[in-house]
């Protein structure tokens, strides 16, 4: 081969490559590929798949690929890293509230304040995806959740128990369940995050006694260790452990074991967020009718109410190359059709935050039990992480310690205050 002929061959090859890229470029223009990043977990993936399917049916020119990421703090890290390096998917699902504030929404997320669908989004949700500059940067994905206690209705019926409205009644029920030879309270420290529920779901009771706790806490004035009401959450965990109410393998069991046990009646109570209703419906549909739900009781029956978690948000990073298509998808999720698709895939787990969305008539009892707290005369309030930007990252390890009898409640609360201080300093809040 001479030099000239080699050059010609190269030129021909590159011309061919150019032609090919031009062709594929044209093909891309006809069908847009979006990526959609969600936390892994069977129920979440099923909902995402149904949403994508319905959306693609209505928009044949847009194709969406679902990517999954780990949940928990590992997932937080991944989201932050991908945002910081400009490699975030076109649309992603992530927490609202304090974790939303920690990803620097003003710098990284597309401003969605003026999207037409925002008119139908409830103000309580908008507030938890609002950046410090007052712009709304997210759309609701999923239903409002309650943090409280699932109970097995079969066991309650068998032992003739009634739903408790005070902590003392709850403990009395537990005694009877234990006396009947059953597991009273399911704990699953194999997934450490599940250990936080007794503390986090107690926040309605804290705020019922001190409505200003959140702002004092943010301002470095109120502490878990020194505020009697706030300390109760840790104490409740300790009391339940010391009374021997937990399942034998509580240290190693995982969240998936927890939902199996509560639905199959292997345990009577499981403190959890109500998003688990979707998981129970998907994994144990034959037992979903056995699972009921109540708010974590406080010390006063008159102040019985539900601690509410706002659902995740959908966000669009500013680095997306497909802004219009991404906005179309977000608008779809935040519409009535979007709610219906979610209900089809995972069943209804609670009230949606989009006006006009309705729940089907045949919702599971765990959802029915939750609705009175939202109805007239019912009481509910947001969890602390939606009222304050500070949530200490080591809470789940501390609650595992308190719930395993390694550390007493007061010590655990003091340690958590230390952890909170570190987080507040990292956020650069005034007064720390």
């Amino acid at each position: 081969m001479t030099k000239t002929s080699r050059r010609t061959a190269l030129a021909g090859l590159s011309a061919g490559l150019l032609a090919m890229t031009a062709l594929t470029g044209a093909a891309f223009a006809q069908s847009i590929n979006l990526t959609y990043l969600i936390p892994s977990g069977a129920d979440g993936v099923a909902v995402a798949e149904e949403l994508v399917k319905s959306f693609e049916a209505a928009n044949p020119d847009i194709n969406i690929d679902i990517e999954t990421r780990p949940g928990g703090s590992e997932g937080d890290n991944l989201v932050k890293t991908r945002l910081a390096t400009g490699t975030m998917a076109d649309v992603f699902r992530y927490n609202s509230g304090s974790l939303f504030q920690a990803i620097n929404p003003q710098q990284f997320l597309v401003d969605l304040t003026n999207e037409p669908w925002q008119a139908d989004v409830q103000a309580s949700f908008k507030q938890v995806v609002t950046a410090p500059d007052g712009t709304v940067r997210g759309a609701p994905m999923g239903a409002a959740m309650g943090g409280g206690i699932y109970y097995n209705r079969d066991i309650y019926e068998e032992l003739g128990l009634s739903v408790p409205t005070t902590w003392a009644e709850f403990m009395a029920n537990n005694e009877k369940i234990k006396a009947a030879g059953k597991v009273a309270v399911i704990q699953t420290y194999g997934d450490t995050w599940t250990s936080q529920l007794f503390v986090l779901a107690d926040y309605f009771n804290v705020s019922a006694k001190d409505p200003n706790f959140a702002s004092r806490y943010t301002a470095n004035e109120a502490k878990f260790a020194t505020d009697a009401a706030a300390l109760r959450g840790f104490e409740k965990l300790q009391e339940s452990f010391e009374a021997g109410f937990f399942n034998e393998d509580f240290g190693a069991a995982k969240y998936d074991d927890g939902i199996r046990m509560i639905s199959a009646g292997e345990g009577a109570h499981y403190p959890m967020l109500t998003f688990a209703t979707t998981a129970i419906a998907a994994t144990y549909p034959e037992n979903i009718a056995n699972v009921g739900f109540f708010a974590q009781p406080g010390d006063d029956a008159a102040l019985n109410g539900l601690t509410v978690w706002m659902p995740d948000g959908l966000y669009i990073p500013q680095t997306t190359a497909n802004m219009d298509a991404a906005k179309k998808f977000v608008a779809f999720v935040a519409s009535v059709e979007g709610c219906d698709a979610q209900t089809r895939a995972g069943g209804a787990s609670g009230p949606y935050l989009v006006n006009g969305c309705t729940l089907p008539a045949d919702v599971p009892p765990a959802v029915t039990d939750m609705l009175p707290y939202f109805a007239e005369g019912g009481q509910n309030g947001p969890a602390l992480e939606f009222l304050s930007p500070i949530k200490g990252p080591a809470l789940e390890q501390i609650t595992v310690e308190v719930g395993s009898g390694i550390r007493p409640a007061a010590d655990g609360a003091a340690l958590y205050d230390e952890d909170v201080r570190k987080q507040a300093q990292q956020l650069g809040l005034p007064g720390w």
């Binding site: 420290y189 190693a252 550390r407």
Partner: protein
């Protein structure tokens, strides 16, 4: 012949004084890779350890991170756990590795097969081993405790008992790493000249005397290698602990590396970088004297 030999030896000397035929540019690729992947991150991490860093922006805060890191409630426990873990794993690897190597260099049946069986766990992914053993060590449904139950023994919560978790992980680490120690010892034992054993036999040494007075002293270099490797590995240990307990229950099996990782995971990037600087210093402080000590003794032999 001798003349030719000296002539050949003499010729390279002047070339040393001449300029090398290879230009210095040949170092460039290696220098760039080393600089970009090692020097730049190292210097950058020294800087970021002095800042409060959110990945998005950083503020210089002096030595606050180091003060905060040294105040971490579980740092002391993590430090103790780290050293404990390194000592347990490296000493068990030395003892078991040596015994296995003696066994596998003697005339046992299926020697080749047994050697590969012992080495096999080294090849398996650490995280895979961790997850497998987490399942086996489950307090009620795990195969280990179910086996013990058949014998009428109630097995402990291997990974859920705060006093036991670290030791359970260390045992798994030994199971996984002992193969490498064995291979190093086999090489060391095979290299011992047969003459010593012959002389010992003529003197009427027993097998035990053979082991203590011939094998053990003569495979000191292997011992030094095994101790250094497994001790450093133990100090830096992270993957197995993270796969099995995530430092738990609570903080019971935290090591320095897992404390650092948790800071990183929580978004305290500056703080975790400061922790890495501390870990680097700690390893240097422990391992440099250890290596010097072991090597000096070797020199005296």
């Amino acid at each position: 012949m001798t003349q030719a030999g000296t002539a050949e030896l003499a010729t390279p000397v002047p070339t040393l004084k001449r300029r090398s035929p290879y230009p210095g540019w040949f170092f460039l690729p290696a220098a760039i890779i080393y600089g970009v992947l090692f020097l730049v991150p190292t210097v950058a991490s020294l800087y970021f350890s002095l800042t409060r860093w959110t990945l998005f922006n950083s503020t210089f805060i002096g030595f606050d991170n180091f003060a905060q890191f040294l105040r971490e409630p579980f740092l002391i426990k993590g430090l103790i756990n780290t050293v404990l873990y390194a000592v347990i794993t490296s000493s068990l690897k030395v003892i078991l590795g040596l015994l296995l190597a003696v066994l596998l260099t003697s005339q046992v049946a299926a020697r080749g097969y047994l050697r590969s069986v012992v080495f096999f766990p080294v090849l398996v992914s650490t995280v895979g081993v961790g997850i497998t053993f987490t399942v086996l060590m489950h307090p009620t449904n795990g195969m280990i405790n179910e086996g013990l139950a058949l014998l009428g023994i109630k097995g402990p919560g291997w990974l859920t008992n705060p006093n036991l978790a670290l030791f359970s992980v260390a045992l798994v680490d030994v199971w996984k790493g002992v193969g490498l120690a064995t291979v190093i010892y086999i090489a060391g034992i095979v290299a011992i000249p047969k003459d010593y054993y012959e002389a010992a036999r003529i003197d009427g040494a027993t097998k035990l005397q053979n082991f203590f007075y011939v094998t053990l002293p003569l495979c000191r270099p292997a011992t030094v290698t095994v101790i250094t490797l497994s001790f450093i590995g133990g100090l830096r240990t992270f993957d197995l602990i993270w796969a099995m307990t995530k430092g738990g229950p609570g903080f019971a099996s935290d090591t320095v590396a897992s404390v650092i990782y948790k800071q990183y995971q929580s978004g305290f990037y500056g703080l975790s970088t400061a922790g890495n600087v501390v870990l680097f210093v700690l390893i240097a402080v422990l391992v440099v004297p250890l290596t010097m000590l072991l090597n000096r003794k070797e020199g005296h032999q």
